[in-house]
């Protein structure tokens, strides 16, 4: 009898195994499907600007003028590209040294205080909604810049400052984890040769963890690149290439959020916004690719 039972129905643990497999497989399938359809949707919409509406791709990427309502409509996305790149890179330039120093402090100089108090506080920054950042930027940073520098205070500089605070947790957390997972004995080896703490940090700790630190920066830039709301609130939103850091301009994201509600689905104006979204998505892929390359290098 025992034999016939074994043959007729699978043993309970094997059934569990099977259920688990099917369940994880379905989850993965769902995930892949979502990602694939999103990419497909954005790409088909974004490309139709060039295929259906016959907008020149080179003109789109290098054109200086964005006026979808003029006759004929002009779609030059270069000001947005410049706006996006300059704000996110400037934000990383501001945030990276701060994040590194915070990470060095939290892991090398005051580990107890750092990991128990400072790290949670910095990670808290990541949980603040972006509208709050934008609001603070608008009511603190913009007036401050207006008083100090010529212009309205809005622009790339204000956007970069707001973004730098937003990406600080990303950079700091990744840097902290990298520094904390430094191979044991490396620091001691350096101290034993008579190096001071600063020399050890500067010559051994930082170079050894450099790929991870760069990963943090790239992820930070990626986040800044995709951030819309906070930037939109402080950047001014005029589609021109600014002549200074304190002049109104736009980014890819702020251009999309600003005009999204004012276009009709399927119209050339709407499709052009999708093309901006496609550009954003491609850039994000590039950033992810760079991170992958850095990670591979760090394993050597």
């Amino acid at each position: 009898m025992a034999q016939s039972v074994g043959k007729q129905q699978p043993k309970p643990h094997l059934r569990e195994e099977w259920v688990g497999r099917v369940y994880t497989f379905l989850c993965i399938l769902f995930l892949l499907l979502t990602i694939f359809s999103m990419v497909y949707f954005v790409a088909s919409k974004g490309l139709s600007t060039f295929i259906i509406n016959k907008v020149n791709l080179a003109g789109f990427l290098t054109g200086l003028k964005w006026s979808p309502d003029s006759e004929p409509p002009l779609f030059g996305a270069l000001p947005f590209l410049i706006g996006s790149f300059s704000t996110s890179i400037l934000a990383a330039v501001i945030a990276a040294p701060l994040g590194f120093c915070a990470a060095v402090f939290m892991t090398q100089i005051m580990p107890k205080f750092g990991r128990k108090i400072m790290q949670p506080v910095i990670e808290l920054l990541a949980g603040i909604p972006s509208v709050v950042y934008g609001f603070v930027g608008l009511s603190v940073i913009v007036p401050l810049f207006r008083d100090i520098f010529p212009g309205q205070g809005i622009g790339i500089a204000a956007g970069a400052v707001v973004l730098s605070i937003m990406i600080l947790p990303t950079i700091t957390t990744i840097a902290t984890d990298a520094l904390a997972s430094l191979p044991a004995g490396l620091k001691e080896g350096s101290y034993a040769l008579g190096a001071t703490r600063w020399q050890t940090i500067y010559r051994i700790v930082l170079p050894t963890t450099m790929p991870a630190l760069l990963t943090g920066i790239v992820l930070g830039i990626a986040r800044a690149f995709g951030e819309a709301l906070a930037v939109q609130m402080v950047i001014g939103n005029s589609p021109h290439i600014p002549r200074s850091l304190f002049e109104s301009t736009s980014t890819l994201t702020s251009a999309i959020t600003l005009s999204m509600g004012n276009t009709v689905m399927g119209s050339i104006q709407n499709n052009a916004l999708w093309s901006l979204a496609l550009l954003l998505m491609i850039m994000t892929f590039v950033f992810v690719f760079i991170v992958r390359m850095l990670e591979r290098r760090s394993k050597l």
Partner: protein, 252 residues
């Protein structure tokens, strides 16, 4: 009696309330290998680490007593730890090469002690590698990553790195216990070679190794030195039962 390279006098190490090393007084002769043996947790590694003030780095560790090198007590707050560690090299159980080229690993220490001249650095690198019996294997790839070397080579690199700052004393904490027998033999050969110029203190769990390479042996137990004598005597005619028990493998 030989010259004394390093001498500990009533040295105690406390971690918080717990005493890891109690009142240890030992003299280490110059140009000789002294082995520290004893069961795990007996305080021999802690003792070794306090000799070049590495315990300074551990929060809550307190080292009391004197450590004398050539008439200077180095266990005092006035001691320049950076200069001290130049005089005392250290090698660990696990090779810990920096994530740099072979050349840069060796040049790291000398650079920090003010040597910038490229020619001089080249010379130091070659000398140190030759001294550590690693030159022949690495001379054609000095600028390759040190991490590409085998474990035994990495350990010899670490020894070369510590001699590059021209110490007079080398501390070794189980330098061969993570290595295969062939690499171990090479390290032991190297220690025998280095003994002619340095005062070497080595912690080891391997009785045979202690017997092979050291001239003096100190047996540690529960943070105290049970017995300290010529290695021959410790291994053939130990004075204490605990020593003989340990050496013959009855505990530990």
């Amino acid at each position: 009696m030989q010259d004394i390279g390093l001498s500990a006098h009533k040295l105690s190490v406390h971690y918080g309330e717990k005493a890891a090393v109690k009142n240890v007084s030992l003299d280490f002769a110059d140009r000789q290998v002294t082995a520290l043996i004893g069961p795990s947790g007996c305080g021999k590694s802690t003792f070794l680490r306090s000799l070049n003030r590495m315990n300074d780095l551990i929060p809550g560790a307190r080292v009391t007593g004197d450590i004398w090198i050539g008439g200077e007590n180095i266990n005092s707050p006035q001691t320049d730890v950076v200069l001290l560690r130049q005089k005392i090299g250290m090698v660990w159980q696990r090779p810990n090469p920096f994530h740099k080229s072979i050349y840069e690993n060796i040049a790291f220490g000398p650079r920090y002690h003010g040597i910038r001249d490229k020619k001089k650095l080249d010379e130091i690198v070659e000398q140190s590698l030759r001294r550590a019996a690693l030159w022949e294997e690495t001379k054609d790839r000095l600028h390759n990553s040190a991490l590409a070397l085998s474990g035994g080579q990495q350990q010899r690199l670490c020894i070369a790195r510590s001699i590059a700052v021209k110490p007079s004393i080398i501390l070794m904490d189980e330098p061969a216990s993570a290595l295969d027998p062939v690499s171990t033999a090479k390290i032991e050969e190297l220690i025998a070679e280095l003994k002619q110029d340095y005062c070497i203190v080595i912690v080891t769990h391997n009785m045979y190794q202690a017997a092979r390479i050291s001239q003096k042996t100190a047996f540690f137990m529960l943070g105290e030195v049970e017995e300290y004598d010529d290695t021959d005597k410790i291994f053939t005619n130990p004075q204490k039962i605990s020593t003989s028990d340990y050496i013959t493998g009855r505990f530990g």
